[in-house]
């Protein structure tokens, strides 16, 4: 009796837990259908999708119905004698014209939506979206804000060493913040290969093509967080460049804008170089360096620093990472190697981050140089670079003489 009572209480508790989890969980792990989304276009897409699917289901039911009927009844084991008809021109014409008319019926709403999608005029906010291997850069052209948005999921989670968070692979360090109920125009382009900027709930998917700029637009009707991913294969970390859009009210948006560092201000700070760089200890540099390396460098240069030569050079034992002067190592991270996946990190990383990465690379995997690179060292190279930019060629990158 007692046992049964306990068991039933257990069941009730479990069900309650399940129900509450279902109610609170933001994602549907068994999601079957397309997102309705939160923009007029995504609603239109959803409706078109539903209409097409329903029409297909009806045609399918008719065709498969006839087929299943004959599969059941017209079999030899039932003694069915085959008919001998094999032609009927009238029937052929009928089943050409009826699908054609259905298609015309589908094409009309599709055309209307398509024309609406193409109309990017009279936008309130313009965002330039720049894809690069494997992160997104957002530039608010009217507000003068520019920043990179990187994957925020820790490497340990990807390697199954830590429990995965709720937004595993769909979380970024700095989301794109947009105002609701405004027409937002996206200008999408790329720095290296083709990417595709896709947020299902906004109904926006636009390929980012290097050297070309294409438009898309959205008017978000509901505040919230909307997540998407790069949709075009763009190299090793294609699966690791998510998009997070945070839609907020006008006031919050304005507050957020005024809190951001403007692009122009950043340059001012650089020129004056008034910021005094605090020295960091070896351990600090190594810890933060390892974290940054795992976030940014690991896709190509690998966890063991061996890279994938000849495309991605090894750092272990490379002349750049163990040789002198250290400024060459720093300059390579700052400037990148043009025409390769090694991009210029001077706008993406702070002096402290670059110093940490350089220190880590010079001391990990048996590269035991004992070197400590301080943020001030990076600042010095950065300043020198601004005054006289110099090309870093493939030979300097090491391994490609």
């Amino acid at each position: 009796m007692l046992n049964r009572f306990r068991a039933s209480r257990c069941v009730v508790a479990l069900t309650a837990m399940l129900l509450s989890q279902m109610a609170t969980a933001a994602t549907d792990n068994w999601q079957l259908n397309m997102y309705k989304g939160v923009t007029p276009l995504s609603h239109d897409m959803y409706e078109l999708h539903m209409i097409a699917m329903i029409i297909c289901c009806i045609i399918g039911a008719a065709v498969f119905g006839v087929m299943i009927y004959s599969l059941i009844h017209h079999r030899k084991s039932k003694g069915h004698v085959p008919a001998s008809f094999h032609d009927n021109t009238r029937l052929e014409i009928v089943w050409s014209i009826i699908p054609f008319l259905i298609l015309v019926g589908l094409a009309i709403p599709a055309t209307k939506v398509l024309i609406r999608m193409d109309d990017t005029a009279e936008s309130d906010v313009t965002i330039k979206v720049i894809g690069s291997q494997w992160k997104w850069q957002y530039q608010y052209l009217d507000q003068g804000i520019s920043y990179f948005s990187n994957l925020a999921t820790p490497y340990a989670q990807i390697q199954n060493q830590e429990k995965k968070g709720q937004w595993y692979l769909l979380e970024v360090d700095k989301p794109l913040v947009l105002p609701v109920n405004r027409k937002i125009r996206f200008l999408v382009t790329s720095n290296d290969v083709i990417h595709s900027w896709w947020v299902p709930e906004l109904g926006v998917k636009r390929d980012a093509i290097p050297g070309f700029m294409h438009e898309a637009w959205a008017r978000i009707e509901k505040p919230g967080v909307y997540r998407g991913q790069c949709a075009e294969l763009c190299g090793i970390n294609h699966g690791f460049m998510p998009i997070v859009v945070q839609a907020v009210s006008d006031e919050e948006f304005n507050q957020w804008v005024s809190a951001q560092t403007k692009v122009a201000d950043q340059y001012k700070a650089d020129q004056n170089n008034a910021v005094v760089q605090a020295a960091m200890t070896h351990d600090e540099l190594m810890t933060s360096g390892k974290a940054k390396y795992e976030q940014i460098c690991i896709a190509c240069h690998k966890v063991d620093g061996k890279g994938m030569p000849p495309t991605f050079p090894a750092l272990k034992g490379s002349s750049i990472a163990v040789g002198k002067p250290i400024s060459r190592h720093i300059a390579l991270i700052l400037q990148g190697v043009p025409g390769t996946a090694m991009q210029a990190y001077k706008d993406q990383l702070t002096d402290a981050e670059i110093a940490a990465i350089a220190t880590y690379e010079r001391n990990a995997w048996g590269n035991n140089t004992g070197d400590v690179v301080q943020p001030a060292d990076v600042a010095a190279v950065r300043k020198g670079d601004i005054q006289q930019p110099k090309m870093v060629n493939k030979a300097q990158a090491g391994g490609l003489e």
Partner: protein, 533 residues
């Protein structure tokens, strides 16, 4: 001429002796110009490639079994998706259908052999070398091609591993092989039909292959051009696909898909032909609407040249182009619909039995039609913005290609293997193979539609937690499907080695010239042309 051929076939039904031992064996297969020998070679190549490329698919599905890094790193994962696609297209479906064309076309039109036997030999023997070259890239430093079988520039030019050049050369060789094979097929069909066999009396399989061969001749040079431009961009300082030099990355996609879309029909038209042979046989009723089947095939082939931009709707093509290609793409479902309606009408009021080939053919009609429906949905540009490059697309084309084309190939194998070998396959094992395949193929690919609609992009080695359930289902299905194919392999080998003897007719309801010959047919098929009423 005919005297010489008669002389050969009198004393040697198992191919000309080329000496004893391994050398003799190698020479016999290396130098053969016989359509059956070459057909067999093609089919074995396709069978081997099927298991190679299938194992690659299983590597992909194993990595995607759960979220997180499991077995292979992302770069190797990308190599797997690339190689799986390339080998399945160029190494499995195309050689398999060419092999069947080699075997069947002379038998079906009443010819002694193919029109150009030496060309035939060369077009086969290019392939093993092309695939060795392609496969070798996996072992190069820097790894194999990792940019998907679609090879989009600039990922495949500036950002690609050095082994890409080997892939380009392999693609050139496959292209030459396909073009030569197609020339041979066209020459055979147009010149070597038995007296009285007019074009409109040809079996559907021959018709679909005739059209396919023209498609191939039209598109393979385009692919060759695309990869050559890639090569030039990589090494000769050109900028076809680079904006900085005045080129355009989208140009690559236009050229590639001008090849790529008709290529889809290269894969699927012979499958239509096979199904149009099998359904009448086991329905014991002639094919319904033969003339319209031919017209539909021709219109599909013509339309396939004006739909290519539907692969590129999200690249920012102008509105007018989007509308045009949306309409043409939708239009292609009309002739495809005619085909499906005709197959159903052929079955209607027939007297059906369900031997393994028929089971596969019926599953083809069901599941290919589902792939056709999602194809129609994909044609609607606004909806396509949500489908493009997601698992919905992966689900769509795998429905067309696996329970579509691969099922048609397996149906054809079960259907014609008794004729080719003179031995009956094991029906019980065939049925097991069918039921396991048809269940697992749906388990694998149906959930992919849900994944795509929920927002999972294709070609990713790891995914968000919300996609975990359906990915696990798909992976389980994929392994079931993969291992079920071992039954197919075993059944083929067992049939060749010790199947029950069959008579000439093999199938009760079969019509056509191939069933008038003994099983197996003599080394040279029709030394005197048959009479067609």
């Amino acid at each position: 001429m005919s005297q010489v051929i008669t002389h050969d076939s009198e004393h040697d039904d198992h191919g000309p002796e080329q000496g004893k031992g391994f050398i003799g064996f190698a020479k016999r297969w290396l130098f053969t110009t016989n359509h059956k020998d070459i057909g067999t070679l093609y089919l074995f190549l396709a069978l081997i490639s099927f298991f190679v490329a299938g194992s690659m698919a299983l590597v992909i599905r194993a990595e995607l079994f759960q979220p997180g890094h499991l077995f292979v790193d992302p770069n190797f994962f990308n190599q797997m998706t690339t190689m799986h696609g390339l080998i399945m297209l160029f190494g499995v479906v195309m050689p398999a259908f060419t092999g069947m064309a080699n075997w069947q076309i002379p038998l079906m039109i009443g010819a002694p052999d193919m029109a150009l036997p030496r060309l035939n030999n060369w077009s086969f023997w290019l392939l093993p070398f092309a695939f060795t070259l392609l496969g070798s890239t996996m072992f190069h430093s820097g790894g194999g091609p990792n940019f998907g079988w679609t090879m989009y520039a600039p990922l495949s030019t500036k950002f690609a591993p050095p082994s890409t050049d080997f892939m380009i050369f392999a693609v050139h060789m496959m292209g030459i092989s396909s073009i030569m094979g197609s020339i041979n097929i066209i020459a055979t069909i147009l010149n070597m039909r038995a007296p009285g066999m007019t074009l409109m009396k040809m079996p559907m399989f021959v018709w679909t292959w005739l059209i396919t061969a023209f498609l191939l001749i039209a598109i393979m040079p385009v692919l060759a051009g695309a990869v050559t431009m890639m090569l030039a961009d990589r090494h000769f300082g050109t900028s076809f696909f680079e904006a900085a030099g005045g080129g355009d990355p989208i140009l690559f996609q236009h050229v590639f898909w001008f090849f790529g879309h008709p290529e889809v029909y290269v894969l699927v038209l012979p499958a239509f032909g096979v199904i149009s042979e099998i359904i009448p046989t086991f329905s014991r009723k002639p094919l319904f609407g033969y003339h319209f089947m031919v017209y539909a095939t021709v219109s599909i082939a013509i339309l396939s040249f004006v739909v290519w931009v539907h692969h590129m709707f999200t690249t920012g093509v102008p509105l007018g182009a989007e509308l045009f290609f949306m309409y043409t793409t939708m239009l292609i479902s009309v002739p495809t619909g005619i085909k499906v309606f005709n197959w159903v009408s052929t079955m209607f009021k027939g007297s059906m039995t369900f031997e393994t080939p028929m089971l596969f053919a019926v599953a083809f009609v069901f599941l290919f039609t589902i792939g056709g429906f999602t194809g129609l949905m994909l044609a609607l540009v606004p909806a396509d913005y949500q489908y493009q490059d997601t698992y919905f697309v992966v689900g769509h084309f795998h429905y067309v290609l696996v329970p579509g084309v691969i099922f048609a190939l397996q149906a054809a194998t079960y259907y014609w293997l008794p004729k080719w070998t003179g031995h009956m396959y094991n029906e019980r094992l065939g049925k097991w193979h069918f039921w396991l395949s048809v269940i697992s193929v749906n388990l694998t690919f149906f959930p992919m539609h849900f994944l795509g609609l929920a927002g999972m992009p294709r070609r990713i080695p790891d995914y968000a937690l919300q996609f975990a359930n359906f990915n696990m289902v798909a992976s389980i299905g994929a392994f079931m499907f993969g291992f079920s194919q071992l039954l197919f392999l075993y059944n083929i080998i067992a049939t060749i080695r010790h199947g029950k003897k069959v008579d000439d007719q093999v199938w009760e309801g079969a019509h056509g010239l191939e069933w008038t010959l003994p099983s197996p047919p003599p080394y040279h098929s029709f030394t005197t042309p048959p009479v067609i009423q």
